[in-house]
Symmetry: C2
Subunit: 451 residues, 2 copies
């Protein structure tokens, strides 16, 4: 590893002005779910990149614009950063200690909507670029793709990437997020599960009906939904859609070894979430950790029908619906799962259950032993003073599939996340020490990558 | 039938002042579900009865007070009226054409919350008493029991009746409601189904959890609820709780004959509610009518869990619940059904599903050939100029069991209801012609009963 004293001095001495830039960025609302401030925020991103000598273009999509920017560097190799400028809705507002779009620093943390997810990551990366530019040219070519619909399932991103393969051509990719665990150990997430999120809906009557009248003779949408859902998964947690498990790759010996090196989770889950027991007879240890990420799911995220207030109302509901997410394992495919779900419901006589596709991502993984991953991990050790743990797959999802499979890139994660960052919740925050560390880490990754 | 010219002249000439009294009564909000104005309304009821020479007492209960009143008459026989002074919540307010508690007459109808259910019935009965009192003493002893919790499942009424059997001793009872069908044919409802209304609830975590994290290893309350509900009723509509059907009395030959005399319902249900098909393979005719009322039900009235807004939220819900009503047939008993439900869930391993008892009524029927029913039917013919149809059992429920089984009374229905009365809905109304007819009918019933 080179000497980073000069870079680190720059990053520390200019930290406040970088945080000022972040504050301005967070102060621009950009809520994709509410179509609020997206164009303005995309323009801000392009300006911030142009200020660093990048050529930046704002591409319209069917939804929010995508910003793509590039600046040439010393080496021929190209590093691509994937970030997003949109944020989650700030509601419920009354639970924020300072206003979500008026960022504030308290006790070594900056609070604001999007400060961690994902605006802090983008600005810390710009800070790292500034430190390198202060010494001359960039060590490698750098590209950014910054989208505005990550919080609404990146519905236009996959198509955009697939139709701009030359524009986005690179040798490696750094993902939008990353972070440390509760012991401040940095984590390297090497894969994301896919997702297929659907709403199942059945509507059988023109109006809700008094249950004394229709209960014995009218079809009940809520019962139809219950019976349909019951065919999807048995009480033994086995998903019953024919062919659902066809393409699931079980964890390899290397995956098992990497998972075994991670801390146990059962006590934390019991304490943090009040989990009374684990399903499938799981007791803990590595089998629990493996099952958590290497098994696909069929999760009911929501149920809605009829009367939901206090006490009783004797109504036969005209409509019932369920939100269901399937988390997918390589090489399952969300479109294939959708087709199998439709066929399964039809085969069981549930042609009256409508399926709405609310978004999907295919699963994707990067080889834990890829040289670029080694580079990112080594660079982290120099900053965090703890070895970076390799996590072969995580439970969540994201649009990494076209980066891995269409652009053919190794995708590494790195970031300022930590367990109390409260992303998607009130009082979202970053730790400023981790903000600085992320900038230091990124400066090292860029320079080492250019060698 | 005696000559009712004088009575009818009185009822017609004093109709406006009776409607003024009804307006004042409706203008007093008395929403049991919201504990609004109940004591004030009970006092008003007692005053209205005292104004007719009744001794009236307001009895406190654990909930809303019960008003009991009595006035002696010429004959030794006693007729008991059951009414209620509470009303449904008026919401949604924006759908009312005139304010719910500012009653207004338009096009021969009076609009207001509770005007039909049940304040109009009580005031029309007082109007009938006034007409008889104008000619001297009452033809028979008259008692009233007027409760304030009918719209919240009459939770204190059964106990009140059972502990005041002497006070309420009578020879026959007129129920709070009744009415005509879409052809203006008056209907005599001779029985009410029972009801056992429960909330099933399961809560397994301290907080909702990201579905990417917990989906593979945490128990999911929504799935537990689905699997538990699925054990209650099969897709063939057969209720699977052991012993559920034990005490069900099938319709007698007389019941079948009476039901066959009623109009067919299939076309109306298809038009009015958009029913796409009837369950259990029912096609229409008398079998549909019989099934509608003579079969017990297990109706899901509501489902609630997790995320219910637009689009997707990837959450594993900590809690799930269902509102379920069982409509009961003589001689099923709600307490017995509750016990069987608990035992069934436990036997299937669903000890984690909590059952909340949200109210019950036992089913009760009056013999269609009882002399008092004949009297009420004969009196109706004189007023409505159409024969009153005998309906042996209706789909709805009410607290009639203690009147039939503890007080030993025949219970007749009579009233001003009609298909567009919109009870429990915005723009509840009565037709003033039916209001007058109900007063005329009640005057005849009182006088004929005293003979």
């Amino acid at each position: 590893m080179s000497d980073y004293k000069k870079v680190d001095t720059y990053l520390e001495s200019k930290l406040d002005s970088s945080l000022d830039e972040l504050k301005k960025f967070v102060a621009q609302p950009s809520v994709s779910a509410q179509n609020l401030g997206l164009k303005e925020c995309a323009a801000m991103v392009a300006d911030m990149l142009r200020a660093r000598g990048f050529s930046a273009t704002i591409y319209p999509t069917a939804g929010a614009p995508v910003v793509v920017a590039e600046r040439k560097g010393k080496s021929d190799k190209t590093l691509l950063f994937y970030n997003h400028y949109d944020v989650q809705p700030p509601e419920p507002l009354e639970l924020w200690e300072s206003p979500p779009f008026a960022p504030e620093i308290r006790d070594g943390k900056m609070y604001g909507r999007g400060v961690s997810d994902d605006k802090g990551h983008l600005v810390a990366r710009l800070h790292a670029l500034d430190a390198l530019l202060a010494e001359g040219e960039l060590p490698c070519n750098v590209k950014f793709i910054v989208e505005g619909e990550e919080e609404t399932a990146s519905v236009n991103l996959v198509g955009f990437v697939q139709s701009h393969l030359d524009l986005l051509k690179a040798d490696a990719c750094v993902w939008e997020f990353g972070g440390v665990d509760h012991t401040d150990m940095p984590l390297q997430y090497l894969g994301l599960r896919g997702i297929c999120y659907v709403e199942l809906e059945v509507e059988l009557l023109d109006t809700d009906v008094h249950s004394g009248l229709g209960g014995s003779i009218f079809p009940n949408a809520a019962w139809r939904l219950i019976w349909a859902l019951n065919t999807l998964k048995g009480a033994d947690e086995r998903i019953l859609i024919p062919g659902f498990y066809d393409n699931v790759q079980p964890p390899s010996a290397r995956d098992r070894e990497l998972m075994a090196a991670l801390p146990d989770v059962e006590d934390e889950y019991k304490t943090r979430y009040g989990v009374p027991y684990f399903i499938k007879g799981l007791k803990g240890g590595n089998e629990l950790k493996l099952e958590e990420v290497f098994s696909p799911t069929c999760t009911i995220c929501g149920l809605t029908s009829g009367y939901q207030g206090p006490g009783s109302k004797t109504v036969l509901p005209k409509r019932a619906s369920a939100k269901v997410d399937f988390r997918l394992i390589p090489n399952q495919d969300p479109q294939d799962i959708l087709k199998k779900l439709r066929a399964h419901l039809d085969a069981h006589g549930f042609t009256d259950i409508k399926i709405s596709d609310l978004g999907g991502d295919a699963p994707a993984r990067t080889d834990p032993d890829h040289p670029f991953i080694k580079l990112v991990v080594d660079a982290a050790r120099d900053v965090y003073e703890k070895p970076m743990a390799l996590v072969p797959l995580v439970g969540g999802s994201g649009p990494s599939h076209p980066f891995v499979h269409d652009l053919g890139l190794p995708v590494a994660t790195a970031g300022m996340g930590y367990p109390n960052a409260r992303i998607h919740a009130p009082n979202e925050n970053i730790r400023i020490d981790l903000y600085l560390k992320h900038a230091q880490h990124m400066a090292r990754v860029l320079r080492e990558f250019g060698k």
